[in-house]
């Protein structure tokens, strides 16, 4: 034979230690960062650790975390959904408007309508992206303009007042169960369900495959179009749900609902360790990313830092968080490689 032969050594795989696999879970880094911010702020201001404050941390992060779930599904497939903020605004207003004129409408119907509105827009996003095979960033940026425009035409300067919205609906925004806000429970259920599904089902693993190597996904017979469409559909639906929760939480809605959420969600997802170019990341990470960013925001106010410093510090911390995560994953990658190297040198 003309090819240089390797000695027929039978190297044994070094088992990956539990600590290592724990470290490899990027969620841990974010969880640590949350605890760090929380701890430092509490040292500064003991009130930060009160039950009420913690409830506020959860409520404040809930909507972005919820949107982060859908965004993760989309980003994992190497796409992005910038229309989520506008969907929140539109669906919240439509539901509010319905309640205004049909005050006795069942609360559940409010949620159904919101989700339907979101699903419809998500379907358009998914359809255009997959059928015309165009970059989703452009499609959803265009949708952002269009949906905001439509929202503006519908709202036309009006505000839905708190009095128009049934108490049974707003209760979802503030009630607690054993001290845990309903809002946080709803989002936690969505995160847990999505997290479980993303690990355990073939169709959701397809999403990772599509984002990891789109060409290979086609060759592997994955119905890439259908999967990406579904990801957008879910992202839109969750954004619709978030719209209903927005209305429940704030008990009022005008044209500004959800403005700027798109970048906040992408920031949370990226901080949460979801690779912006697809293929890897978890919904839990994204949700934790949202909690981290919200904790930072509230910690700044709670630390009695002048309001004018909030933006700069939040931006700086976001950069630090991204860099820290990168450093951590590099370290893990290196430890992985040296383990590998050891076995190759045998």
């Amino acid at each position: 034979m003309s090819v240089i032969t390797a000695p027929a050594a039978a190297p044994t795989e070094r088992p990956v230690s539990r600590l290592e696999s724990l470290l490899r879970a990027r969620e841990l880094g974010i969880a640590l960062a949350i605890l760090l911010v929380f701890g430092l702020t509490t040292l500064n201001n003991h009130a930060f650790a009160r039950v009420a404050s913690i409830q506020q941390l959860l409520i404040g992060a809930a909507l972005i975390a919820l949107l982060g779930v859908g965004e993760t599904l989309v980003i994992v497939t190497r796409n992005v959904d910038l229309s989520v903020g506008s969907i929140v605004g539109l669906s919240a207003y439509i539901v509010g408007d319905l309640f205004k004129y049909h005050h006795n409408m069942p609360v559940v119907l409010g949620f159904v309508v919101a989700i339907a509105v979101g699903a419809a827009i998500g379907a358009i996003n998914g359809f255009v992206t997959t059928v015309a095979r165009v970059p989703s960033l452009v499609v959803t940026l265009a949708m952002l303009y269009i949906v905001r425009g439509v929202d503006g035409l519908i709202v036309n300067g009006k505000t839905i007042d708190p009095g128009s919205i049934p108490k049974a609906f707003t209760a979802v925004g503030y009630r607690t169960l054993f001290g845990i806000p309903w809002l946080a429970i709803i989002v936690a259920v969505v995160v847990a369900t999505a997290g479980y599904a993303m690990r355990s089902f073939r169709s959701s693993r397809d999403l990772y495959g599509i984002g990891s190597n789109p060409d290979a996904a086609v060759l592997a017979g994955i119905p890439a179009g259908r999967r990406v469409f579904t990801a957008f559909l879910i992202s839109g639906s969750l954004a619709g749900l978030a719209g209903a929760l927005f209305l429940a939480l704030h008990a009022q809605i005008d044209v500004s609902g959800g403005t700027g959420y798109e970048l906040a969600v992408v920031a949370a997802v990226v901080v949460g360790g979801v690779a912006i170019f697809g293929g890897s990341g978890t919904v839990l990470g994204a949700a934790l990313g949202a909690v981290l960013l919200n904790t930072i925001n509230q910690a700044l106010v709670a630390s009695r830092i002048s309001a004018f410093w909030n933006g700069a510090i939040a931006g700086g911390l976001l950069l630090v968080a991204i860099a820290f995560d990168r450093w951590l994953s590099l370290r893990v990658a290196r430890s992985l490689q040296s383990a590998e190297g050891a076995h190759r040198d045998l």
Partner: protein, 506 residues
């Protein structure tokens, strides 16, 4: 077809054609596969082999022609349909998901399910381990595919194809990146599959592999079927003549070297964790080969010399001038050219046109008044396309439309256009047909005669022995031997590479 078999053919492709715009990739694609046979498909680069494979795979629909499976005419509307019909494919280019685990790569879309239709990871990893055991390799099924060596990637591809238990298994150059032992094991697996009644279509540029593993051989030229014959009835020379349409001269046209002054002088080069204390020289008019096992660090030495990777210590001098650390541009300006190992990732910008790729390393030279002139770019590219006998339809087409061998020629042209004094060439003929291979060797030889210094990295021992004036053997990142052409033979290189004999390491 001379075969008299009792069983009917499992797959027949008859007079398939495929055009891409004006490119006729396949003129007459015809092949017949019987159960229980291994069938070699041979042909030059660009002969249309991969196109034929992709028609079998359902990736492309044929423009005309007929495909029969089990005697029934079929049309595939996608890769899934082909697979459902019992055809399993190993593509020429790796199709792995870098972010997913090795096991998941193998079972993507068909992961074993447990309770509640959820994926049973343990079962999946077990199944993957079983396949690896059949192939006789050790690979952690739960590690991510990112960072796997080319060889390991190829192993995963093979494992994936095997996992289908298909009745037709098509392998497009599966051995290009494998070691002999791995190739041997693959042949054993093919034998087992045949015994189970599967048909295997095997594409390779190493003709001896066809003889080692196949019963019949089909030869293609210029997109057309040439002939099918039982392997016993043909010789290597027959095959080459059918492929190339003429006789080939001596395989390794080596002109005795007359080494001149030192061009490359590497001293105590070190990159922590990769290689240590590497010192050697390459002179004008000689070819120095870096040999060693896969993973010995040859590519890394080349990368560090060229400045892609930073070195930890040591010096690199080209014609007496020390090269700065980690600056490829400085190396290029000093007259160094690097034809990298992975042409699709590193050698070429796949979505750029042929002429722009040829010109990419020479843009500063093409400048007039600070601007690039398209006409000069075309001229340069045309010159080199002619000299390297490139097969293409239009200069403005992207290089991704070229066959593998022709892509390699574009990389060569891109670097030779700079008129370098030192050419570092990593795996010069990987995936290249015999005809082109001989041409590349001849080209290298003539360049060296004209005074070029060449540092060649090759995993093909025959190539090393045939072409090199000196052979430096690396083992685990250190120089294990520095052999002259006279000293170098299969035995001495292998001993040094594997560290079996202390004498060889001296």
């Amino acid at each position: 077809m001379t075969d008299q078999r009792s069983a009917p053919p499992v797959l027949v492709l008859d007079h398939a054609t495929k055009r891409f715009g004006a490119v006729r990739a396949l003129e007459d694609g015809s092949i017949t596969l019987y159960p229980g046979e291994a069938h070699a498909l041979l042909g030059e680069n660009g002969a249309g082999k991969s196109t034929l494979v992709k028609i079998l795979a359902g990736v492309y629909g044929a423009d005309s022609g007929e495909l029969l499976i089990g005697g029934e005419p079929v049309t595939f509307n996608g890769p899934g349909a082909s697979r459902a019909a019992g055809v399993s494919i190993i593509y020429q280019e790796p199709t792995l998901f870098p972010d997913l685990s090795v096991a998941e790569n193998i079972f993507m879309g068909r992961q074993p399910l447990g309770v509640g239709r959820r994926i049973d990871r343990a079962a999946m990893n077990r199944a993957a381990t079983e396949i690896f055991a059949r192939l006789g390799v050790q690979l952690d099924p739960s590690r991510v595919a990112r960072g796997l060596s080319v060889a390991d990637q190829q192993i995963v591809e093979i494992a994936k194809a095997l996992s289908f238990n298909a009745q037709v298994l098509v392998m497009d150059e599966p051995t290009a990146a494998l070691t002999t032992v791995e190739v041997g094991r693959l042949f054993e697996v093919i034998r087992t599959l045949r015994a189970q009644g599967a048909a295997v279509l095997f594409i390779t540029h190493r003709i001896e592999e066809a003889f080692a593993s196949c019963q019949r051989v089909t030869i293609m030229r210029d997109g057309s079927f040439v002939r099918t014959a039982p392997i016993e009835e043909v010789t290597v020379e027959d095959i080459i003549r059918s492929m190339v349409g003429r006789d080939l001269d001596a395989l390794f046209p080596k002109t005795p070297a007359a080494p001149g002054e030192v061009v490359l002088d590497v001293e105590h080069l070190c990159r922590d964790g990769v290689f240590y204390d590497i010192s050697f020289q390459v002179r004008r008019g000689e070819i120095v080969a870096l040999a060693g096992l896969v993973g010995a660090g040859r590519t890394e030495v080349a990368r560090a010399v060229f400045g892609i990777d930073r070195r930890t210590s040591g010096t690199v001098r080209v014609r007496g001038e020390a090269l700065p650390n980690g600056k490829p541009l400085a190396a290029m300006n000093a007259g160094v050219a690097l034809v990298p190992e992975d042409r699709r990732q590193q050698g070429l910008v796949m979505e750029m046109s042929i002429d722009q790729n040829v010109a990419l390393a020479s843009l500063r030279r093409l400048r007039r008044f600070g601007l690039i002139w398209r006409s000069r770019e075309r001229e340069l590219a045309t010159t080199w396309a002619t000299r390297l006998q490139l097969r293409f339809s239009r200069m403005g087409n992207t290089v991704s439309t070229l066959s593998g061998g022709n892509q390699q020629k574009v990389v060569l042209g891109k670097w030779l256009a700079r008129n370098p004094s030192l050419l570092i060439i990593d795996e010069p003929t990987r995936g290249i047909d015999v005809g082109t291979k001989a041409e590349v060797h001849r080209l290298l030889d003539s360049l060296v005669v004209d005074g070029l210094a060449v540092l060649m990295i090759s995993s093909e021992l025959l190539e090393v022995l045939g072409m090199a004036d000196r052979v430096i053997v690396l083992r685990e990142g250190r120089i294990a031997a520095d052999l002259t052409r006279a000293e170098a033979d299969e035995d001495s290189i292998m001993r040094a590479a594997t560290g079996q004999s202390p004498a060889a390491a001296a």
